[in-house]
């Protein structure tokens, strides 16, 4: 199972992301956006521990979630997925 971070533009979109993933039976949680992934200061992100990242991407795209990015956590930090 891998750890992914989905960055979104506000806490509202973070909630929306969790809701979309939950509807697709994918567990996730809201976290403060990790340093290095920030765009212009504070923000929120959604952490997903999954081996079904393809389903995550599809679910968010289908829901037309705007301006999100998915990062994969590796040994050396986060890599844009």
């Amino acid at each position: 199972m891998e750890i992914y971070i989905i960055t979104v533009r506000s806490v509202t979109y973070a909630q929306k992301t969790v809701g979309i993933l939950s509807e697709n039976r994918i567990k996730s949680r809201i976290i403060k956006r990790p340093k290095g992934l920030d765009v212009g200061g504070c923000g929120y992100a959604v952490e997903v521990r999954t081996s079904r990242i393809g389903e995550v991407t599809s679910a968010l795209a289908d829901a037309a979630l705007p301006d999100f990015k998915i990062y994969k956590r590796g040994r050396d930090g986060y890599v844009l997925f």
């Binding site: 533009r9 509202t12 929306k16 809201i30 923000g43 929120y44």
Partner: protein
């Protein structure tokens, strides 16, 4: 006390509203700033409320539900945010001061005058004013003073055709009438949380229903994009500077849930009580009722006067008998001017889901007794 002032503020709120507010004060932190458990729980409740409000009004994007302090706050964002320098604001002759005051503060205002019970008269009045140079049009969905319903969808269609931003004040309609914002042709719809949505005071809602967005009028922290000097361009953050009223919104969530489960029943119940009251008061000498045809009248509200007496005296006398009503101009001087009731105002009965027929009969008896007295005070 029998409470008939729900058009001002709901009083008989569902128990779940009180529990939610208490729980929020005991357990929840602020919204949208921190990431710990209490803040996350607050964010979740706030989002659930956005979602529930969006669903009640036929919207698919909860982020377009902006939380405000009250309807006045929401109307100020919409009116001041859409107004242009040297532009003219068109408003109806039934607007509350929450509309007319910000509109006048922004510059020139043209007031649409019409017969409130004649749709052709209403539409032709707006049509005549929606000329070039108009920067904004605002119309109430239901008059807070007289309960007459205005054809906002049709007015919105005229505005849309002319590219004029259209703002609807749904303060008296939200929670009572069936509202699908997609059918209103509006760009912004404003409402309080503390009236028929049964939430606590200090809650209001602005629905942004089109791609035409007002300029923000308040600036400050949002917990997002902190390095930017400007307000974020993302909704709802763009219009929600400062910490939200989390406890109030948690209460509002429960109020909205109650309304979603019971709206049709509430409508029928209020319509029945209002009809009964009208029937009981009709024919009583010296009592004058103000209402129009059923299809143009919101069922939860009835204005009346007694033989030219000041409405404040009427409601005071009724208060002494244990009935809570509102008298005066109801912050709607334009409406009273149009109806010829400026001098004495009107006494207003407004119902909610919890009023009973027994209370209504008692109120009618008290009004009749009052009307038969030569000197009330």
């Amino acid at each position: 006390m029998y409470y008939f002032d729900s058009a001002a503020t709901s009083f008989y709120r569902p128990y779940s509203v009180r529990v939610a507010v208490n729980d929020a004060i005991a357990r929840l932190a602020g919204y949208g700033r921190s990431g710990h458990t209490s803040a996350a729980a607050a964010a979740e409740r706030v989002y659930l409320c956005r979602k529930s409000v969006a669903e009640l009004f036929g919207m698919s994007n909860p982020e377009r539900v902006i939380f405000c302090n009250n309807a006045t706050h929401a109307l100020n964002i919409a009116i001041r945010g859409f107004s242009r320098k040297n532009g003219v604001g068109v408003i109806s002759c039934f607007e509350h001061n929450a509309v007319s005051r910000p509109a006048y503060a922004c510059g020139r205002v043209a007031v649409a005058e019409f017969d409130p019970y004649n749709e052709d008269s209403i539409l032709s009045s707006f049509k005549g004013l929606l000329a070039s140079g108009v920067s904004l049009c605002v119309c109430t969905m239901v008059s807070n003073a007289f309960g007459n319903i205005l054809p906002v969808s049709e007015i919105g269609a005229m505005c849309k055709k002319r590219g004029v931003p259209f703002v609807v004040d749904a303060s008296q309609a939200a929670g009572t009438l069936d509202i699908d914002v997609k059918k209103l042709n509006a760009d912004a719809v404003c409402m309080p949380g503390h009236k028929a949505l049964l939430g606590p005071t200090g809650t209001g809602i602005l629905l942004l229903t089109s791609d035409m967005l007002p300029a923000p009028i308040m600036f400050g922290g949002t917990g997002s994009m902190s390095q930017s000097r400007d307000m974020p361009d993302v909704l709802p953050d763009r219009y929600e500077a400062g910490t939200l009223n989390v406890a109030g919104i948690c209460g509002l969530l429960e109020g909205v849930r109650f309304v979603r489960q019971n709206r049709e029943g509430i409508f029928k119940h209020e319509a029945l009580l209002c009809k009964e009251l009208r029937a009981m008061l009709t024919g009583i000498p010296r009592v004058k009722l103000y209402y129009g045809p059923e299809q143009m009248q919101c069922p939860g509200l009835l204005s009346f006067g007694v033989d030219g007496r000041p409405s404040e005296e009427i409601v005071q006398a009724l208060a002494d008998e244990g009935f809570a009503l509102r008298g005066g101009l109801h912050c709607a001087p334009l409406a009273h001017k149009r109806m010829g009731t400026t001098e004495n105002g009107t006494a207003r009965v407004s119902f909610c889901y919890a009023n009973t027929l027994y209370q209504t009969v008692k109120l009618a008896e008290a009004i009749e007794k009052l009307a038969n007295q030569k000197n009330m005070i």
